[in-house]
């Protein structure tokens, strides 16, 4: 007994300083301490789980055709990810191969629905009180929160969560708080800055702050040394598009044209942008002719 007590005391004296040291290094990040890098796999699993909930469980398994679910629909709808989905999203299971499979399908979710459109009950023609604007879309939030806890560097989790909180549930403060959490974990991330700017532009009607955030996003994107991915270009496209739109609204056509020029390089529709640039040039000429061009007060610097 005495020997056991001595051993227990020795082990505790050895383990405790190591634990404290590790806690300091990881600054209380229990998840990374427990799971290591495998937490990213779990984070991805829970992100997809949120999309499964978004479809009320009607989702392809590894045995089904996943062509139409390559990009989670909730992320695509939120504008957080560029869509890569192809094919019919309602028929990923294909025709049943035998009578057992045909029978089994009567017991599983069987139609393509989105939670923000009423979910599973909505498809049945039942007139339910959907509550807030987003209906049952709140149900995806726990999985997104867990995903962010597991992998704080997964940017799309913050963007998707903030979008649904803000646009469909009217929880602007919670959305901003969550994005700021993301910003603390990923300082100056252009995608999070873009989403934060949308909150200031669309919900708080503070265009100056929105412009500052989006500009910072573009600057950080330019400073990025690594090769830009398709997703980076998608975010740059959204940043420059938003800057161009807000400058047009403010009557700063010269700046709007400069942002549009920047946008053209990353836009999937450069011809449309060229047309917009021509329109803005015309408006700029008209305003200069009438001498009514609004002087630039605050806001964006030329790119």
């Amino acid at each position: 007994m005495l020997l056991l007590l001595t051993v227990a005391f020795s082990v505790a004296a050895w383990v405790e300083p190591q634990y404290q040291e590790r806690q300091e290094v990881h600054s209380g990040d229990m998840m990374s301490f427990l799971l290591g890098d495998s937490r990213r796999l779990f984070a991805n699993h829970f992100f997809v789980k949120a999309d499964v909930y978004f479809h009320s469980g009607f989702y392809p398994t590894i045995f089904d055709n996943q062509q139409s679910f390559q990009t989670p629909h909730m992320a695509e709808d939120a504008g957080a990810l560029k869509g890569h989905n192809e094919g019919d999203e309602t028929a990923f299971m294909g025709p049943p191969l035998d009578f057992i499979e045909a029978f089994r399908r009567h017991f599983a979710p069987s139609s393509h629905t989105h939670l923000d459109e009423g979910g599973a009950q909505g498809t049945n023609g039942v007139n339910l009180d959907l509550g807030e604007k987003g209906g049952e879309v709140r149900e995806i939030l726990p999985w997104l929160k867990i995903s962010a806890e597991l992998d704080p560097n997964r940017i799309e989790t913050y963007m998707v969560t903030a979008y649904w909180l803000r646009k469909r549930m009217g929880k602007v403060d919670e959305a901003e708080e969550f994005l700021r959490e993301g910003l603390r974990a990923n300082p100056n991330n252009p995608a999070i800055l873009y989403e934060l700017g949308r909150i200031y532009h669309e919900d708080r009607t503070n265009d100056v702050h929105a412009i500052n955030l989006w500009e910072l996003g573009v600057r950080k994107m330019d400073e990025q040394k690594s090769v830009k991915t398709e997703q980076d270009n998608f975010i740059l496209f959204q940043l420059t598009l938003s800057l161009a739109r807000v400058e047009e609204d403010r009557g700063n056509y010269a700046r709007a044209i400069q942002w549009l020029e920047r946008e053209k390089a990353v836009s999937p529709y450069p011809d449309v942008i060229t047309k917009q640039i021509e329109d803005d040039r015309q408006k700029l000429a008209d305003s200069q002719k009438s001498g009514a061009d609004t002087p630039a007060k605050t806001g964006s610097q030329p790119p």
Binding site: G57, T61, F63, R104, F107, A120, E139, L141, K145
Partner: protein, 258 residues
Amino acid sequence: MNVIFAVAGVVIKEMYRRKDFYVLLILTVVITLLMGSINFFDDDKIARYLKEVCLMLIWVSSLVIAISTVARQLPMEKENRTIFPLLAKPISRAQLVTGKFLGCWLACGVALLCFYVFFGCLSFSRERHWFLLNYFQAATLHWAMLAIIIGMALLGSLVFAAPSSNGTICFVLVAGILLIGGYLNRVAMQTTEPGRSFVYAIYYIIPHLEIFNVQERMVHDWPLIEWKYYALAILYAAAYSAVFVFFSCRLFRRKALS
């Protein structure tokens, strides 16, 4: 029939006395309530993640109760030598096996009732809506599936030497069927002969327990399953359990007890 019910009554009383059910029920309640206490963006109406966790715990608990109760029934009677005075009474071996099956199945039904009442209350506390018929369908389909598993474990208790090995094999089989049983036909399509025929044979022979797993429908509030398909599923379960009980009776009739 009275003899069968008498044996079944003894099995149900045995379940009352054992602590497995109480422990699993309390664990399910505690874990679910702990999960429910987590705050997600100050929204207290979020319910589905909680329903999923609760249903998963109910399923695991019911499988543990069913398999562990059945697997030890006949081996324990033999080990304690209580089977001899039991069979000395006017009771046939087939009646004993059927009584054991019925007792385990009814005991599981009682346990499931408690679990699903808790689940219903939990759902109502969040959603403020009773889906009583949906709960009824889910619980009865679950119970029907347990009949197949009880039949399977009963047959296993006559084939395998120890209750532990029988329990483990049953758990592995049930988990396997629930996870991939429904997709074996697709696996077979991508396999060459003779593997294809072998996988297809397994696909058609195994009881498709995944049919009875309507957790997704319950979690996401899907409308009711059409009653004709529900009735067919119950018949399917009845047929498979009858086959297992029949083979158990046949096997037990020829089995040496000493």
